[in-house]
């Protein structure tokens, strides 16, 4: 019972043709729709709105022949923005302008609520503007707009339905892209939160909740790291354990709250102190303060160069801790006992250091509390002594512990004193008088040698001045210079400046360098000799014969004096060959026009042989040991020395 009763063949044929066409366009529409899967914003690749809009427009192109098309996207402020414009043509009547007009008229907002394509007559030559909302079931996402030629309006319905579906897909794609974005943001936020919480958790795990200081776990970790860092290095690590005295009694009498408050206050004071503290060079200490538990604190100090600094620091710590504090309105006096272990002397494992520091702390407690103890008490330990001397040497100059002794140089025949050698001594407060062999090496390691060298020269000048003799009659004083000093580029100028300042003629000073030192760097030595020579300072080659200077090199050195090495003198009495050796040296010195002096002369026999060999000057125990300044002055007044 069809509405149409036409049954003739033509109309059937017509119908058949129509159906075939419809089938074809349906198939085409299915094809276009199938391709819209590409616009789904569900993979990383196609998740951007640009990609989605591009894909949408490609699909629309296959459906409609438009003169121009544009996509408007609803932004987060709910306003429509032109997102993509296919063929902008500002010269011609522009689609965007038309849309602006439609927005003003209200047609645009009307079209937003029509879930189908809307064809509006455009202002121009019969063309139409097609609007189609881009919306999901729940949200408007944007608007599709196109300019159509008049004939394009006569579209088959299937085309427009397909357009609806394409744009519906586009809306879902945009929505899914946005949801992915939101999800992504959420995930990132979640990640941030997780990270922050893990950090906090880690902090909680590694810090003491009462003082917010590193706890035992973190402290152990830092200690192990510090030991790793300093293994084999020149500087040291000090581990201090600090225990409050009588803390338990405070806890018992005022309660745990008071105990907690005391711990907090002590922790703050210690933290402030460590922040303020400076080492000898004015650098802050690299220190880690930790609460190990109960009333026990740990302090890790790295990059320590001198024990003296540690002593000062720990003294400060003990003093700072032992003050009166007001805890819950009660005056509380606490003191602390501190034990110190030093890496590497007291162990190279964290556990050893900790237990040794603990032992030292217990000892400090037993010795009456409020004090500190080092673990290492073995002063015979060489490295420890070295370390300690190092610290003390730093203070030695300032505290006037260095002294000069003088050993006279005499003329063999007459016994007349022709000059002397200044020899440094360290009047150590505990160890007594130390010869240079005990500390010069340390001084060179610590770079104190320059300072000491200048001190020696200045002291020599002052001593000379103290003799109160006419400058012309002043004895010539030899000063030893080490290899390290030789490398100082300004040495000649600085030394000259000192003699000038002290008012001593430069030629009263003779610098002694060992042959070995010279031969280690002949060019450097030659340059330095030249420079010293030019300011008038005299030069001597010390320990001559012990090195292996060639005649050629010797000739090039602007030296004034050769000092025959004591080993030759010692062997003089042992046989003719040794005598001949010294004779050759004497001959050579004469040939080169150098003065000659024998050192280490201990017997009269040696003095006699030397005199026979025409070596007229000598120095040694036979005449005098090195003597303090007062004795030296007395000798000079006397003028001659007769061997005992």
């Amino acid at each position: 019972m069809s509405p149409s009763h036409q049954t003739n063949e033509d109309s059937l044929r017509e119908r058949l043709r129509y159906l075939e066409e419809a089938l074809e366009s349906n198939a085409y529409a299915m094809d276009v729709l199938g391709a819209t899967t590409a616009i789904f914003g569900d993979t990383n690749r196609n998740r951007s709105p640009e990609q989605i809009v591009q894909g949408t427009l490609e699909s629309v192109h296959r459906l409609l022949t438009t003169r121009d098309m544009a996509i408007y996207i609803l932004d987060s402020d709910s306003s429509f923005n032109l997102f993509h414009h296919e063929n902008p043509d500002p010269a011609h009547h522009d689609l965007a302008d038309t849309i602006e007009e439609l927005i003003e008229e209200g047609t645009f907002s009307w079209a937003l609520h029509q879930n189908h394509p809307v064809c509006l007559p455009a202002r121009l030559d019969g063309e139409s503007v097609l609007l189609h909302v881009i919306a999901t079931r729940t949200r408007i996402r944007g608007m599709f707009a196109a300019r159509l030629a008049p004939q394009e309006l006569q579209r088959h319905e299937i085309t427009l339905s397909t357009l609806t579906m394409v744009l519906f897909n586009a809306a879902y794609a945009l929505e899914s892209a946005e949801l992915f974005q939101i999800m992504d943001r959420r995930q990132k936020a979640l990640q941030r939160i997780t990270e922050r919480q893990s950090r906090e958790l880690l902090h909680h795990m590694s810090h003491d909740s009462l003082t917010n200081l590193p706890n035992r776990m973190l402290f152990g970790d830092r200690l192990a790291q510090a030991l790793d860092r300093h293994a084999g290095g020149p500087s040291h690590v000090a581990l201090m354990l600090l225990d409050l005295d009588n803390f338990k009694r405070l806890n018992d009498s005022l309660g745990h709250r008071a105990g907690d408050e005391l711990i907090r206050k002590v922790a703050k004071d210690l933290g402030d102190l460590l922040e303020r503290a400076r080492d000898r060079n004015g650098q802050p200490f690299r220190a880690t303060l930790s609460r190990l538990g109960g009333d026990e604190f740990g302090i890790l100090v790295e990059d320590i160069e001198s024990l003296e600094g540690v002593v000062r620091l720990v003294t400060d710590i003990v003093r700072t801790t032992a003050v009166e504090r007001h805890i819950l309105d009660h005056p509380v006096v606490t003191s602390a006992s501190c034990g110190i272990a030093v890496f590497p002397y007291d162990g190279d494992q964290p556990d050893h250091l900790l237990s040794h520091a603990d032992a030292a702390m217990n000892e400090a407690k037993q010795r009456g509390r409020n004090g500190f103890r080092f673990y290492t008490q073995d002063l015979h330990s060489r490295t420890y002594r070295h370390f300690q001397l190092e610290n003390e040497l730093g203070r030695a100059i300032a505290e006037d512990q260095l002294v000069l002794h003088y050993q006279p140089k005499v003329e063999l025949g007459s016994g007349r004193i022709i000059g002397g050698e200044a020899l440094i001594r360290w009047q150590h407060p505990k160890l007594g008088l130390l010869p240079p062999s005990h500390f010069i090496e340390i001084a060179e390691d610590m770079t104190l040698i320059e300072e000491i060298g200048e001190w020696v020269l200045r002291q020599v000048c002052r001593d000379l001045k103290a003799l109160k003799i006419r400058p012309d009659d002043l004895p010539r004083i030899a000063v030893n210079v080490s290899a390290r000093q030789l490398r100082q580029p300004e040495l000649a100028q600085r030394f000259f400046a000192i003699t000038e300042q002290e008012g001593i003629p430069a030629d009263r000073i003779e610098l002694e360098l060992t042959e070995t030192t010279i031969m280690d760097d002949p060019q450097g030595a030659a340059r330095m000799f030249q420079a010293l020579r030019s300011v008038g300072i005299l030069l001597a080659v010390d320990d001559f014969g012990s090195g292996n200077a060639s005649l050629m090199q010797l000739k090039q050195l602007p030296a004034d004096t050769l000092k025959i090495d004591r080993s030759f003198i010692r062997d003089l009495e042992q046989g003719e060959s040794n005598v001949n050796l010294v004779r050759a040296i004497v001959l050579m010195a004469r040939t080169l026009g150098l003065e000659l002096i024998a050192e280490g002369v201990e017997t009269q026999r040696q003095a006699d042989i030397l005199q026979e060999l025409d070596c007229q000057h000598a120095q040694g125990f036979l005449f005098s040991h090195p003597v303090p300044f007062a004795d030296w002055r007395a000798l000079l007044r006397k003028g001659t020395i007769t061997p005992a």
């Binding site: 509405p3 149409s4 066409e21 419809a22 009307w110 879930n115 064809c119 309006l153 088959h156 319905e157």
Partner: protein
């Protein structure tokens, strides 16, 4: 009587003639475009005038007056205009028929109300083509009109059953005939060559769970029918409100509070539609 008797017996009722027929075939032709549909509608001045009035009504809320049918077709959209024209044709076709047992005015008010409500529900669901649901709603009880026309005086017996048993009318129909007006309406839509969704929505609007292929459309008509009955927006002979099937309500997917808006939206349009279509 069998179902076929109702459809076949009086073909004049079930088929259109003259310009209605031309318009109807054109509307059913999926290849139709703006021009052909405009031409067809213009064949009948009444239909054309009513269509234009509807297009200009607040149902479509177009900000400017739409002066030509051609424009109305392109603005309202090809798909949507079909259902509007079709509903106009259906109303015009059945209005003049003598039916016993039902007040024609009230019947069409009810049908328009269900149409407006179904359309409104579809709108809130952001359906693509909401006029489709309007047509389903409008035609949901055509089967009853056909039934009463055929039964003539025997209609009283059906009403009698309703009165005696205090049941819903469609249950009385089944008791009397073995099938109800929904089945007749479905068969009529089928005979008119309407799409399967339309047929199913009408056939099962009292048993929405039996709709296999288009349960959502069926559910919308079902719920709209109950709302229209509850609000007493006209009547097609029901005394009581047919209960809403919870599954159908669930299927529509709109929350209960939204129905206040849906209803008030539909009521606003209903008055205009009545004025335009039933005057």
């Amino acid at each position: 009587m069998t179902l076929d008797d109702f459809i076949a017996e009086e073909s004049a009722l079930c088929s259109f003639s003259g310009s209605y027929n031309t318009i109807f075939s054109c509307l059913n032709d999926p290849g139709a475009n703006v021009a052909t549909i405009t031409e067809a509608v213009e064949l009948d001045p009444t239909i054309a005038a009513k269509t234009l009035k509807l297009a200009n009504s607040s149902l479509y809320g177009f900000p400017e007056p739409i002066e030509t049918l051609h424009r109305a077709v392109s603005i309202i959209g090809l798909q949507q205009i079909r259902q509007i024209v079709m509903s106009t044709v259906v109303i015009e076709h059945f209005r003049g028929l003598p039916v016993i047992g039902v007040d024609m005015e009230s019947f069409w008010r009810h049908s328009l109300a269900v149409g407006a409500l179904a359309r409104s529900i579809a709108r809130f669901r952001r359906e693509g083509n909401i006029e489709r649901l309007y047509l389903y709603g409008l035609t949901h009880d055509l089967g009853r009109l056909l039934m009463f026309l055929q039964l003539a005086e025997r209609t009283e017996e059906v009403i009698g059953i309703r009165e005696r048993d205090g049941t819903l009318l469609f249950e009385a129909e089944t008791a009397f005939l073995g099938f109800d007006h929904a089945s007749i309406g479905g068969a009529l839509m089928d005979a008119w060559g309407m799409p399967p969704a339309h047929v199913e929505a009408i056939r099962y609007h009292h048993a929405p769970n039996d709709a296999r292929a288009f349960p959502t459309e069926t559910a919308i008509v079902h719920v709209a029918d109950s709302i229209a009955n509850a609000l007493r927006l006209g009547s097609s002979g029901e005394r009581f409100v047919p209960p809403v099937d919870p599954d159908a309500f669930e299927r529509i997917g709109l929350e209960m509070p939204l129905y206040d808006e849906i209803t008030s939206h539909a009521r606003q349009q209903l008055d205009q539609m009545i004025t335009i279509l039933l005057d």
